[in-house]
């Protein structure tokens, strides 16, 4: 019942990954299992929770809703590629840390990537716009208040 695999080239965080996947494999599974990037989490595999949010060609996308083969040649960014290096955090990561924007941290990669996509598109969102955009992901621990605050702080830092 195993379907034949196809070769696939994914560009993730600037690295090229040559992998073999079944056509029915989701992008999330391919990233986690074939590229070894387990920072992209799965909370529902159903497009609702947003834990799997990544950037595909700069836009936030649900990795659980895409097939890996759809992403041939596209530029993918995951949480592992957010920080510039091992010493420095991305302003969003820094702000989440400073503002206690995470507890268990399971939703965090999804929120970081969602926020990164939102702020790259609109560096100066109003609070309303931000709440609207960030409401597409779920967090069960924080009550969101600090996620909003952290994103606002990061937006400010990123404009500087």
């Amino acid at each position: 019942m195993t379907s034949p695999t196809v070769p696939l080239r994914l560009f993730v965080n600037g690295d090229r990954h040559e992998i073999q996947v079944e056509p029915r494999k989701t992008l999330a599974d391919a990233l986690r299992e074939d590229c070894g990037l387990t920072g992209t989490h799965l909370g529902c595999e159903h497009g609702v929770c947003g834990a799997c949010t990544i950037l595909v060609d700069g836009k936030p996308a649900r990795a659980c809703l895409m097939f890996a083969v759809q992403c041939e040649g596209m530029s993918i960014r995951t949480v592992e590629g957010l920080a510039p290096d091992d010493e420095t955090l991305h302003p969003l990561q820094q702000a989440f840390w400073d503002n206690h924007g995470l507890q268990c941290g399971f939703c965090t990669p999804g929120f970081l990537m969602l926020a990164a996509g939102v702020l790259e598109e609109n560096p100066e969102p109003t609070e309303e716009e931000l709440v609207e955009a960030l409401s597409s992901n779920l967090c069960r621990c924080t009550g969101y208040q600090n996620i909003l605050k952290a994103t606002q702080c990061a937006a400010e830092a990123m404009r500087e």
Binding site: T2, G43, W97, H100, C104, R140, T142
Partner: protein, 778 residues
Amino acid sequence: MIGGSARRVEDPVLLRGRGRFAADSTVSGQLHLRVVRAGVAHGLLRGIDTTAALAVPGVAAVWTAVDVADLPPIDFRLTALDEQRPYRQPVLARTRVRYVGEPVAVVLASSEYVAEDAAELVEVDIDPLPAVLDGSGDVVPWLTAEEASWGAQREIAMGLGSESAEIRLEYGDVAAAFAAAHRVVEVDVTIGRHSGVPLECRGVSARVDPSTGVLVVDGAAKVPFWNRDAIARMIGWNPRDVHLREGHVGGGFGPRGELYPEDVLVPLAAVRLGRPVRWIADRQEDLVSTNHSRDQRHVLRAAVDETGVVTALDGQFWTDQGAYVRTHSATVSSLTASMLPGPYRVASYRVSGRIRMTNKTPAGTYRSPGRYEGTFARERLMDQIANELGLDRLEVRRRNFIPVEEMPYQRPIQAMGTELIYDSGDYALLMDKLEERFELARLRADVQRRRAAGECVGIGYGWFVEKSGLGPYEGAEVEVDTTGAVTVTTGTSSVGQGVDTVLTQVVADVLDVDLDRVRAVRGQTDRFGYGRGAFATRQSVMAGSAVLKAAEAVRVKALTVAAEHFEISPDDLEVVQGGIQVVGNADARISLGEVAALLEPQHANRLGLTPGLLAEEWFHCDHMTYPYGVHVSVVRIDRETGGPTVERYLVGYDVGKALNPTLVEGQITGGVAQGLGGALLEEFRYDEAGQPQASTFMDYLMPTMHEMPPVDVLVTEDAPSPLNPLGIKGAGEGGVTAAAACIASAIDDALQSPGFVTRTPVRPDLIRAHLATTGTHH
């Protein structure tokens, strides 16, 4: 540093996506387990045909109950009631299925996709029976004598009914109080079925290390030590040879980490098949297999005098337990019963709680178990008393508070096997402080003005007492290496609350070292002897106290060695920035790393000391601490849709002493979100055949950022606990406890219909129907 708002030591790893959650590790050659689950709520198991599934290439095994017939049922961990043993769950259904989602078979295959495909080919033949879905209706036959005997693991002569236990508590003279009452006030209210629903689904992996023969189980959480012993017992191994490891855990809240059928099946498969095995739940199975919670109906009667003082409380409640009694046994109901009177004196009290079996997913604890439910019922009752006596809602509460002069206050009943003694508290003071800090008078005036102008808006209150710091013990080892790096090892667990940070802070404070010099090790059953786990908001209290003692012992030992070294009295030494120096002479200094080096075995022997700069200490406590608080909310209702919007949320909570105020506030705000979800959105509903109506996140609605009001928290430290050296009371649950009570109170106020809310979640259609009948619809 204790009491400081340090940033969390856990965060950098998580922020970089380097966490190790249950699904994040794979090993080559591992098998994937897929559970075949019952599709009907109740029925007799006629047969299971596994032929087609076994024929799928890549399938290594398919098991049904006969393959695991030697396994006993899953045992109780807490509040074990003997009469509930017959109701325990087998790891795979034996003769009958009792809820949709019950495991009936497992498939083990070379990939997740193959396992899933093969599982669909397992044919399960079930004779459906009518489903029992009413947790407070008539008692019906539930177990045959054979089933009861198997569940209890002893001979039981007769079948048993659907009431698995009744909890009774009583003190004072209830009958006399009712006979003398000025008035009797009654409510009949129900709190819906919902649960913790951590964002990470459950998962477990296991393998036998061929070089040592040790069974290594990953994906543990909350209570790894207890689960290690339970797994070892069930599969007949020595606990020594079973090792549970907790990695990162994507939220706990009560359900996560308890011992479920899959937690036994996966290790067993690894042992029997000689290959690594892994199982990761998908969301749908998580929602029907992981413990549900709440779901209690309360009928409460209060005898009150003319001033609104409750002279007696007479309560009956029913807990809808679902299909089996799992690890928590009677915990939830027993907590409901003992904590029901809350912050009020209540001179006489009687309660009966019935734990009823139904054909739903089994229920267990969820953050603030028994108190969220009981607080909702009791605070509905307090509002009703205010209404019937024409009193202000908060005034009624003040008149019933246990006054500060009576602390510590003993209620002559038990809670979780301990005497119920409220250790400290000044309820009236907290209310005053909240009034002042958040200018409640202004808030009330504002709400009134808006209502006069035609808006449907109200303010609500909920008072509560929590409990935390359940003992009886926790231990800790603190060790400094020769570079001065510190390791603190405990038997605690982390389900995401930041326990590493808190324990690290305690160590850093005592040894005056930077936080990043301390590493916390926990949740590893081969690194520490005992651990009671992450539940009942007990870790800061218990482990925090043990760590404090261990760090202090290390400090004393370091001072002893340094005193020898400088040939000076320890009294003339001080601990400064990770070193020890002579008071007033920073040049005469030895670092903690150097002290550790002096304690290598031979030198230590010459000094007459045990080797190493380390100490293990234990903290014991037989009583719980009782934090307390109040919630206030403002709720607006849309007259067209009936939709409620929580506009503002205020919490006052006294935690005795906050180890890290930022984390305390984070716990509270997160709790409010879950409490709000239970009050307005979340519900595991079933149709009349017992089919779950909420098995995806499309139907099980959790609050998003959009539904969350601004939450303001006032954390006070007016009533430190006399029961532990730091004075702390746990902060994990107080954000959730009174949320349903408080939001219900605000909705009643908005509608100007006291007593309207009698059940949660308060759905918009219920409000709209009410608006239609009362003609307040414009």
